[in-house]
């Protein structure tokens, strides 16, 4: 089979020769691949920051009241005098950990990186529908991030009302002690919303209107399908948040009364508006990861995705149902109980399409020719950890069960199993899988496996015990659990978790090192090292040039023809015309078809 080695800078015949300067190539690029890399660097920085914030939180829980070692003196007197974390600062830490992770790490990684990088390449388009809007989408997120960072340095400290920012606590400095920090939080998120929104408009338009001839809807690879559906969620949910944020901002600044009980405002209204956005938001955080994982699992098992059509239907079902489950975040809020029951029912139902996907992943692996490369390890971790996170979700879906476990560490465990175990492992799978295409070099495999195993083990040591802690009543977001005698017995566990967390965070530096080392010193990659069927691997050069393809690709089949009886190879690229397919000399048994015995 033809594998071409192309180096960056190759000219694509027929494409115009662009002599763009440094600024137009690396700073204000309109090329979706460069913008994806910009998002990658920025979001990995925020991911690290979010992790460090969690580290400080864990210090307080693991070694309560003790000064932070080594860097304790770097903290100001208003945050951690003498290195000892103050309760107000602790509140900001948990708030900001979540805020940075959700809005500045996971979302930009899923959408800014994978949406941007994969969509045009996988559907055979030369770029996004609106390249300049794409540039705007990245660059507007940077001031938003800086504004969010600035909140740490203002008087009164950063917002500390949780990433959910419930009113009236968040709206009134008399309650929270925070004024400017909360304003900056609100402004920053409003701005970053425009980044997400412009991305969504771009992705949806591109997928609908710019698919190469032959790339029908059910030949689109699952990452792009997932990103497409996710973009709809972004398009429709983010503006709801924006409206809510603006109302909260006005409550705090000019004293409107939307959510303030003192003027007959409704705190529950904030919760409804927030979670109406918030629940689609969590599907935004996971769906693209499901697409990425499907791709890696199929390719590394050398098998078609089991039930490709039902995978698509499941993604769409999750997106649909995701709009009518938001109240399960509010079971204990004092909401209308009948309404709560309806949310319980819908939440239990939404487990079904997720379960379908899990079974399909397992079906994809079954009797496959498994290659345990680094991306595959991460994808397998994704499936197994997502199962655990999903199962804890079933418990929480039941309103009566939620009564004792709401706002406990059981919830924290669930969140992190789906967001770290789910989203982040799938992102690692994506980065290690598409690394050769993005940078022309292989991602270091040995260090990659070291990073994976340390991460996987320490991550489970951190978050699995939290299920039990939550069931025993360990409260969420709490600064000092030892103020309650019934929680004192869990201090050793808290300390153990903290140590594991430090190992977990440290292991990420291995990834960071490997990332940059491989980018400059890794083995040069062939054009299709994974023998993938999809256009970005099988057709586009490595790295792809401006315009991605020579001419317009033509697609003849779906993306998951691995181990097909029709081909002598164990893969069959989408763009290969039928007359150029090499058939096997004798009929071949791929090993996973039913034998009929």
């Amino acid at each position: 089979m033809a594998t071409t080695v192309a180096t960056a800078g190759d000219h694509v015949a027929g494409a115009e020769h662009h002599e763009l300067g440094f600024i137009r190539t690396y700073i204000f690029s309109t090329d979706h691949k460069m913008i994806a890399k910009q998002f990658l660097v920025a979001s990995l920085v925020f991911l690290l920051l979010g992790g460090l914030l969690a580290g400080v939180v864990r210090w307080q829980l693991g070694f309560p009241g003790q000064p932070i070692p080594l860097i304790g003196s770097l903290f100001s007197d208003t945050t951690a005098p003498g290195g000892i974390i103050l309760p107000e600062f602790y509140n900001s830490l948990v708030t900001m950990h979540a805020t940075f992770m959700i809005f500045f790490a996971i979302m930009p990684l899923m959408l800014g990186v994978w949406g941007n990088y994969l969509i045009p390449l996988q559907i055979g388009a030369p770029d996004m529908a609106f390249p300049r809007l794409n540039t705007f989408s990245f660059w507007i997120s940077i001031p938003a991030g800086l504004i969010m960072l600035a909140g740490f340095f203002v008087e009164g400290g950063h917002a500390g009302a949780g990433w959910t920012s419930y009113a009236p606590l968040s709206a009134d400095p008399a309650f929270s002690g925070v004024y400017m920090g909360q304003i900056l939080w609100l402004v920053s998120l409003t701005i970053v919303g425009f980044s997400s929104l412009s991305g969504a408009v771009n992705y949806i338009t591109t997928v609908i209107n710019m698919r190469a001839p032959g790339m029908t809807w059910f030949r689109i690879p699952l990452p792009t399908w997932a990103l497409f559906v996710t973009s709809w969620l972004v398009l429709l949910a983010i503006p709801i948040l924006t409206g809510g944020l603006i109302m909260l901002l006005l409550d705090q600044t000019i004293g409107t009364g939307f959510f303030a009980p003192a003027t007959d405002g409704e705190p529950l209204l904030w919760q409804h508006i927030f979670w109406y956005f918030g629940h689609p938001e969590v599907y935004i955080l996971i769906l693209p990861g499901m697409g990425l994982a499907s791709e890696v699992l199929a390719n590394r098992s050398r098998k078609p995705v089991f039930g490709y059509h039902s995978m698509v239907v499941a993604i769409i079902s999750i997106a649909f149902l995701g709009w009518v489950v938001w109240g399960h975040h509010m079971f204990q809020s004092g909401m209308n109980p009948l309404l709560g029951t309806s949310f319980m029912i819908s939440t239990i139902i939404i487990a079904v399409p997720s379960a379908i996907k899990v079974f399909n992943w397992l079906g994809t692996l079954w009797r496959g020719n498994i290659h345990l490369d680094v991306p595959m390890l991460h994808a397998l971790a994704f499936v197994s950890m997502f199962i655990i996170g999903g199962l804890s979700g079933i418990f929480m879906a039941s309103a009566p069960v939620d009564i004792p476990i709401h706002d406990t560490y059981f919830i924290v465990a669930h969140i992190h199993y789906v967001l770290f175990g789910g989203s982040l492992f799938s992102i690692f799978a994506g980065i290690t899988y598409w690394f050769p295409k993005m940078f022309g070099r292989m991602f270091g495999s040995k260090l990659g496996k070291v990073h994976f195993w340390i991460t996987f083990v320490s991550y489970n040591l951190v978050f699995f015990p939290m299920h039990t802690m939550g069931l025993k009543g360990h409260i969420r977001r709490i600064y000092d659990p030892n103020q309650y005698t019934f929680l004192e017995s869990m201090q050793p566990l808290n300390t153990l978790i903290t140590v594991a967390a430090f190992v977990l965070i440290s292991a990420q530096f291995i990834f960071a090192f490997n990332f940059f080392w491989s980018m400059f010193r890794g083995n040069k990659a062939v054009s299709n090292p994974w023998n993938s069927n999809t256009l970005e691997w099988a057709l586009a050069p490595t790295p792809p040039p401006h315009g991605n393809f020579v001419g317009t690709p033509r697609v003849y089949r779906g993306p998951y023809e691995y181990s097909s009886p029709e081909s002598i190879d164990d893969f069959l690229p989408q763009h290969l015309p039928p007359d150029r397919v090499q058939r096997p000399p004798v009929p071949r048994d791929p090993g996973f078809l039913p034998t009929g015995d």
Binding site: E16, P126, A129, N209, G257, T263, I273, T552
Partner: protein, 224 residues
């Protein structure tokens, strides 16, 4: 447009047939519609808040005309609808290649749009003068009799919701007027032709949407 996209084939005003048949409208039009859908959701959060707070605390709100100036706003509504007509006439003009008509009708749309905002500003001024303000603590709406020390009509939620809804709508109108001005300048530069006047269609869609939102807003806020 990136020069690396294959040359658009067929009619620019329809779609690019280089690719798989998508939704059969050109990219920018699809993009504009998608953006407008997101705007629907944005106004939903504000209008939804109004509806919900009104049900929760009806005593904060007032009957039509008790506080707000219905005749003035009804006229303003008519005005905005007129601007939709002038907009659509501008589009119809360039569809036939009538450059002069395009420019004239665009100018008319801009002027009417600006007047809408102006009238709303006047309305705001009068309301604020009567104490109808968004700040809950300072809310003190007088009756339409304008009698100082007269009965307070409604409560603070009325002011908060009124200003956020009409204010953001007014902001969207203002942005529309600015964009229309850009379109007019490009029209004067001869940018739009019979075969390619996508920009006019796009700003038209936005402008009609802004009118549409006002139709709903006016009814719900002023008449119910």
């Amino acid at each position: 447009m990136s020069s690396h996209t294959p040359a658009l084939q067929g009619n620019l005003m329809v779609h690019d047939s280089t690719y798989e048949p998508g939704i059969q409208i050109y990219n920018m039009k699809l993009g504009m519609w998608l953006f407008l859908l997101s705007e629907v959701m944005f106004f939903t959060s504000l209008l939804g808040t109004y509806v919900i707070l009104r049900f929760a605390h009806p005593d904060h709100f007032a009957d039509p005309g008790a506080v707000l100036n219905v005749p003035l706003t009804a006229f303003n509504t008519f005005f905005l609808i007129c601007s939709s007509v002038t907009m659509v006439k501008a589009f119809a003009a360039i569809q036939k290649g009538d450059q002069k008509g395009l420019k004239l009708w665009l100018l008319a749309t801009i002027l009417i749009g600006a007047c809408f905002v102006g009238i709303q500003a006047i309305e705001y001024g009068a309301l604020v003068h009567e104490g109808f303000v968004p700040m809950a603590a300072k809310y003190h709406a007088l009756g339409r009799t304008g009698v100082e020390g007269g009965p307070i009509v409604g409560g603070p939620l009325y002011g908060s919701t009124f200003y956020i809804m009409t204010g953001f709508h007014g902001l969207h109108v203002s942005i529309g007027v600015i964009c229309l001005t850009f379109v007019l300048i490009r029209a004067m530069q001869g940018h739009y032709t019979l075969s390619d006047h996508r920009g006019v269609e796009l700003i038209g869609l936005y402008w009609h949407f802004v009118d549409l939102v006002w139709i709903i807003l006016f009814t719900i806020v002023y008449l119910i």
